[in-house]
Amino acid sequence: MDLRFAEGAIVRDDFFLVEIDRFQGPLDLLLHLIRTQDIDVFDIPVARITDQFLQVIKGLDEEDLDSAGEFLETAATLIRIKAQMLLPHEGDDDDEDPRAQLVRRLLEYEQIREISQRMRSAEADRARRFSKGFIPARPKRLHQEMPLETTWADVLSAALSVEMPAPRQGLPRITARTISMQDKVVLILDSLQDRSGVEFSRLLRGFGDTMHGVMTFLAGLELTRQRVLFMRQSQPFSELWFYKNEEAEEGVTEDIGRIEVDT
């Protein structure tokens, strides 16, 4: 099939511009030519349609051989039909109209197109109905391992109870540790003499220096390590409790002064 064939085609006054890219394929283009000119699909003027078809496919992208081939194949079919129409009619009733096969394909394609348009509107209707799970789940909590809830009020009260550190003056000075952990061990065990638990803040009462807090905490950790007591906090930033370990061996608690401390 040679496209130059189209050069000689008689272009009638009903010449019209059709953009080839708009069409999904040769059948789409043929249907367009027929439907826009109100042609009776069962009596297609093959010569005229063939000319128009060839005119339009001159705009084909030569690089795109695949789709060009499809259009050319249909062009060949059209030209064959045109030739068959020109042959003298035998007058035999069994002869089929050479256009019949093409007409059947066109009608079938047109029907499929109609169905696909209905399916498009069914698709749009369906897209307006939603099932469970459409709205996304809330993002997962970052600290799922934390067993207890913290509210913003808790965070705020914890923040407010933090003392502003004293402004630092001059170079930091390293001083010898003046508070011994031994003293704190004694303090903790004393406090636990007549009760099962004591608050960390109560142990700090009367001591101003932050270092007292640090040493008391370290003493608590040490005693915990030795299974003399255990520490509990119900939630982050809340009060820390020191509890006597009732299962501890008697000798340890009585022997308060002699607990060995690694320093």
Binding site: G25, P26, L27, D93, D97, Q101, R104, S116, S131, I135
Partner: protein, 218 residues
């Protein structure tokens, strides 16, 4: 607990359509008929109470879906993946497969007049169609059919919900899924009216398909 409540609980907990026999698994004493009955009760209840959702028959099962008039409110939450609308070629190809299944690629391409292997692959990737068998022709071609996902996508209760050929402006019933009797009478009508020759269309169409497959094989 009565049956409609049990059925409701199962439907509520599911995010996909369930068929009556699937729902019946909820209790040994339930059978499909009881489930069907319960489904009708629930359907009427939701409609009477003007719930924002209704019981929808979809993909050969039932699913609780919101009513379309609430779409504008729900679409504001639209930040999860939603299936895209299908392209023109995809819809065309799906329509052919839906009506002609099982059908092979060659026949699809004959009807559309264009190469369709890419579209078929896309539809397969989206689970809208699947291979349902092999044809008898040369090389035993793969045959395609639509899936349950296809019915879900378009909201069809079953394949009967596809637009009927007789609703359409142009009627070509030779291979549409229709009754035998309906088929032959309408076919004659077309041939007579159009004077396109006496040959039966069924035989004719088959010949063309064979031609088409020979062409592509060459």
């Amino acid at each position: 607990m009565n049956t409609p409540q049990i059925v409701e609980a199962v439907l509520f907990a599911s995010d996909a359509p369930l068929s009556p026999d699937e729902i019946a698994r909820a209790d040994e004493r339930l059978d499909e008929d009881q489930v069907e009955e319960a489904l009708q009760i629930l359907k009427a209840e939701y409609d009477d109470a003007h719930r924002a959702f209704h019981l929808t028959e979809i993909a050969e099962g039932y699913q609780i879906l919101t009513r379309p008039e609430f779409a504008p409110y729900l679409e504001r939450f639209d930040n999860v993946h939603r299936p895209n609308r299908l392209s023109g070629p995809s819809l065309e190809t799906l329509a052919i497969i839906a009506y002609r299944q099982p059908i092979g690629r060659i026949e699809i391409e004959y009807i559309r007049g264009v190469n369709s292997s890419g579209v078929i692959r896309t539809l397969q990737d989206r689970s809208l169609i699947d291979i349902v068998g092999r044809g008898d022709g040369l090389g035993r071609p793969l045959l395609y059919g639509t899936t349950q996902r296809f019915q879900e996508h378009f909201g069809f209760g079953s394949l009967d919900d596809l637009p009927r050929p007789d609703e359409l402006p142009i009627i070509l019933k030779d291979r549409m899924p229709l009754q035998e009797s309906e088929r032959s009478s309408d076919q004659e009508e077309i041939s007579e009216k159009q004077g396109l020759g006496e040959r039966p269309a069924d035989e004719d169409a088959d010949n063309h398909v064979n031609e088409a497959s020979q062409d592509s094989g060459a």
